[in-house]
């Protein structure tokens, strides 16, 4: 029946999150649970065989802290402990860096609190030769690849040892030797670049895979669409990850269209393989990443993965989330905390205990602090030493054309 034409009095809709400051957190609308087992197609299946997974939630760890179902990657206790180590290291590093920012030692910082599994598990599931095009919240990849922490800190301090010569805002890491691309401040730009990188690898017949990450909010950018289109057309060996941590800065995922479809479902329209995973479940993230990597490596093309997680702290040190969401939201998050969940799993396996956990925390805290002492000894943004001033005019071009030479001279350096 055709509805009677009526005045569209509703105007347009502006979506609102379920709860604002002072209100009770409410994630019931998301229908999330840790206990639904989901089937696992073969990584060489036709893309359409994965499309039902765009609306599911792939999980391994259930609420009893047991690994279950077809997606269980069956990791050794050693690997699991390594995962815990990497996530905890990320978290403790973040904590320290936040403090430093508060003390004015670094100009800016962004934490990954609550979503460490997304980067750490992916970093471990991929090969070292696989290329990473992260956004600013995947520092966990660096820890997974055992990046020298002092080097990370000297970058954030913008001091004379910063491998980026003080040119970039903190946390915009570059680590070429670690196959970690440069982080841009511009959202989403790296997504289609990653496809280009993957195509070049494929053209040379290499079996490396390229992976990239964007946030839920960033999926709205044109570059997200460009990347999916390129990946689809050329069937590039690329893994396109959407980290749906529920929030952009102050705007919730609904402003990016997230109330009307999952972010994984966007892949359906490009014929990409699509997976939606519990992003706070280390094992599940590991499993889907490995699945997508195997698929790409074997020449079966790209995968879009949505990681459902929650940004448990502020967007950045410039943000104050208490102004736009209930303070208790992180605690109410139905998928829990990734560190706690992996820890509980290891304990349930008999492969971990509180004492070891405390010891690890302690050791890592000390490592972070010692690293910082070293890094700071090379200088800080405020007090220097910085990269020499003339370096400011380098690397714009390979050489230094006359106008830059003159400008350098004009500055008297």
């Amino acid at each position: 029946m055709t509805p009677a034409p009526s005045r569209n009095r509703a105007g347009f809709t502006v979506p609102e999150p379920p709860a604002r400051p002072g209100e009770k957190p409410d994630f019931s609308g998301l229908g999330l649970s840790q206990d639904i087992p989901v089937t696992r197609p073969d990584p060489d299946c036709p893309a359409k065989d994965t499309h039902m997974l765009a609306n599911a939630l792939i999980g391994v760890l259930n609420s009893e802290h047991q690994a279950q179902g077809q997606w269980d990657p069956a990791l050794s206790p050693k690997t699991l402990r390594q995962g815990l180590h990497v996530m905890l290291k990320t978290r403790l590093y973040d904590d320290r860096m936040l403090k430093l920012q508060r003390q004015g030692k670094i100009s800016f910082y962004m934490k990954a609190l609550g979503e460490e599994a997304v980067a750490c598990a992916a970093g471990m599931a991929l090969r070292f030769e696989d290329m990473l095009f992260p956004s600013y919240r995947q520092q966990g990849l660096l820890f997974a690849r055992d990046r020298d922490m002092v080097a990370m800190m000297t970058h954030c301090l913008s001091n004379a040892k910063d491998n980026l010569k003080g040119r970039q805002l903190p946390i915009h890491y570059t680590w070429k030797e670690g196959n970690f691309f440069s982080i841009s401040g511009n959202l989403g730009t790296q997504f289609p670049q990653a496809v280009g990188w993957a195509m070049a690898s494929a053209a040379r017949g290499e079996d490396t895979v390229t992976a990239s990450w964007v946030g839920d909010g960033t999926t709205a950018e044109g570059d997200f669409h460009g990347a999916c289109t390129l990946a689809s057309t050329y069937q590039a060996p690329v893994i396109l990850n959407v980290v749906n941590n529920q929030w952009a800065i102050s705007s919730f995922a609904g402003i990016a269209g997230g109330l009307n479809a999952t972010f994984a479902a966007k892949g359906i329209g490009y014929g990409l393989a699509t997976l939606r995973v519990d992003g706070n479940d280390f094992l599940a993230v590991y499993a889907v990443t490995r699945w997508a990597a195997d698929r790409a490596r074997a020449g079966h093309g790209p995968t879009l993965i949505e990681h459902v997680t929650y940004r448990a702290d502020a967007h950045s040190t410039s943000d104050d989330p208490s102004r736009y969401r209930p303070k208790e939201e992180a605690k109410a998050w139905p998928l829990g905390d990734p560190v706690e969940r992996l820890k509980s799993h290891l304990i349930a396996l008999g492969e971990w205990d509180e004492a070891r956990h405390e010891a690890l925390t302690d050791a890592l805290s000390k490592e972070v602090l010692a690293s910082y002492k070293t890094a700071e000894s090379y200088g800080t943004l405020r007090d220097g030493p910085l990269s020499p001033v003339p370096s400011m005019f380098e690397d714009v071009f390979v050489g230094q054309p006359w106008h830059l030479r003159r400008q350098r001279q004009d500055l008297g350096v």
């Binding site: 105007g11 347009f12 502006v14 609102e16 604002r20 100009s107 800016f108 913008s158 001091n159 910063d162 010569k165 003080g166 040119r167 970039q168 805002l169 915009h172 841009s184 401040g185 511009n186 959202l187 989403g188 909010g217 960033t218 709205a220 950018e221 044109g222 570059d223 952009a248 800065i249 102050s250 705007s251 402003i255 990016a256 269209g257 410039s318 102004r323 736009y324 943004l381 910085l386 990269s387 001033v389 400011m392 005019f393 714009v396 106008h403 830059l404 400008q407 004009d410 500055l411 350096v413």
Partner: protein, 340 residues
């Protein structure tokens, strides 16, 4: 004229929105985080609560879509004011601005037009690194059909935003974020200044406009002319003061169409001119000003026109103050021009 109050530039911009939303139901305001939160700098804070979700709202993170949506709304009778969160992030929307916004009236011979305002914070001085520091105004001055402005103080910021929204042309407003909370004279080591004691921090609470296309002679002088806009106006004033040079300082305010009359009158009087901007030097808006001034005032010129600008590099994070065209460099240029 209504009452005045002391306002920061942020408060003045907020007040302009408030006045416009109140007076004209065609006005709406939106942008990334501009709705509930009121913008990352607070320029639209409190307005969603006051005017409702459909007048002040958040947008998806897609600057092209923001501009396009504004165009569609403006063409359909509304008066949108869209915020681009940082001027560095306006480029995904560049095509909609160059190819669509600027030409709609022209290509339809006046049948359709898009009278809208795009506001965006620009400039450095807050350790924002290369992606939170750009002054990209020059790109936009090369696009026929757009009014391009950059206010340097709360009074102008409010009056120009109201004028922009009431204009039938599309207007871009670049807001120097370093000025949001206080004037900045180029010396980062001084304690932060505040608008509360600045003449232009006294802002009428109600409706008023500052005309677009009119420069402001903020300091009269006879020795030479300094043409500046945005943050550089304050740097110019302080540098002239410190150097003890009787400079005439012009705050351009509107870049397109620029107030050639005021500039030419001044340069014809002083015979010397220095142009300032924070943006990179090559093909910056200073080049246009210099080209036009030398055409216009050639026979009055006693020295080459000099420019003091940002360097032709991305805006570096650590070397912010070596990049920023501060007092030392401005003073040197003033002296050299005076002595040339």
């Amino acid at each position: 004229m209504s009452k005045t109050a002391r306002m920061t530039m942020i408060q003045a911009i907020n007040s302009a929105h408030d006045v416009l939303l109140e007076r004209d139901e065609r006005v709406c305001a939106f942008g990334e985080d501009a709705g509930y939160f009121g913008g990352v700098f607070g320029c639209t804070q409190g307005l969603q609560e006051k005017y409702g979700l459909s007048r002040v709202f958040d947008t998806p993170i897609n600057e092209a879509a923001i501009v396009a949506m504004a165009i569609g709304m403006a063409a359909n009778g509304m008066r949108p004011i869209a915020e681009i969160q940082f001027a560095d992030y306006i480029f995904p929307g560049f095509d909609q601005i160059v190819s669509e916004l600027s030409r709609l009236r022209y290509r339809t011979a006046g049948a359709f037009s898009a009278p809208l305002v795009l506001r965006t914070p620009c400039g450095g001085g807050i350790y924002g690194g290369q992606t939170h520091s750009m002054s990209p105004e020059a790109f936009f001055t090369h696009i026929p059909g757009l009014v391009i402005t950059m206010p340097s103080n709360p009074y102008d910021a409010k009056g120009m935003l109201i004028a922009a929204s009431e204009s039938d042309d599309p207007v871009l407003i670049f807001e120097p974020k370093r000025l949001y909370n206080g004037p900045f004279d180029g010396d980062p080591h001084k304690p932060a200044l505040s608008w509360s004691s600045h003449e232009k921090g006294a802002v009428p609470t109600g409706h008023y406009t500052v005309p677009l296309g009119k420069a402001d002679v903020v300091r009269e002088g006879t020795a030479l002319t300094v043409v500046a806009y945005g943050t550089m106006v304050h740097v110019a004033l302080e540098s002239a003061q410190l150097a003890g040079i009787d400079a005439e300082v012009i705050d351009l305010r509107t870049l397109i169409p620029y107030d050639i009359e005021t500039i030419a009158k001044s340069v014809n009087k002083t015979g010397r001119c220095v142009v300032l901007h924070e943006a990179p030097r090559t093909s910056g808006f200073g080049a246009e000003l210099m080209a036009q001034i030398q055409e216009e005032c050639f026979y009055a010129l006693e020295a080459p026109i000099k420019r003091v600008t940002g360097w032709d590099t991305p805006y570096p994070h650590a070397h912010e103050w070596e990049y920023f065209p501060g007092q030392t460099r401005v003073m040197r240029a003033l002296k050299e021009t005076l002595e040339a």
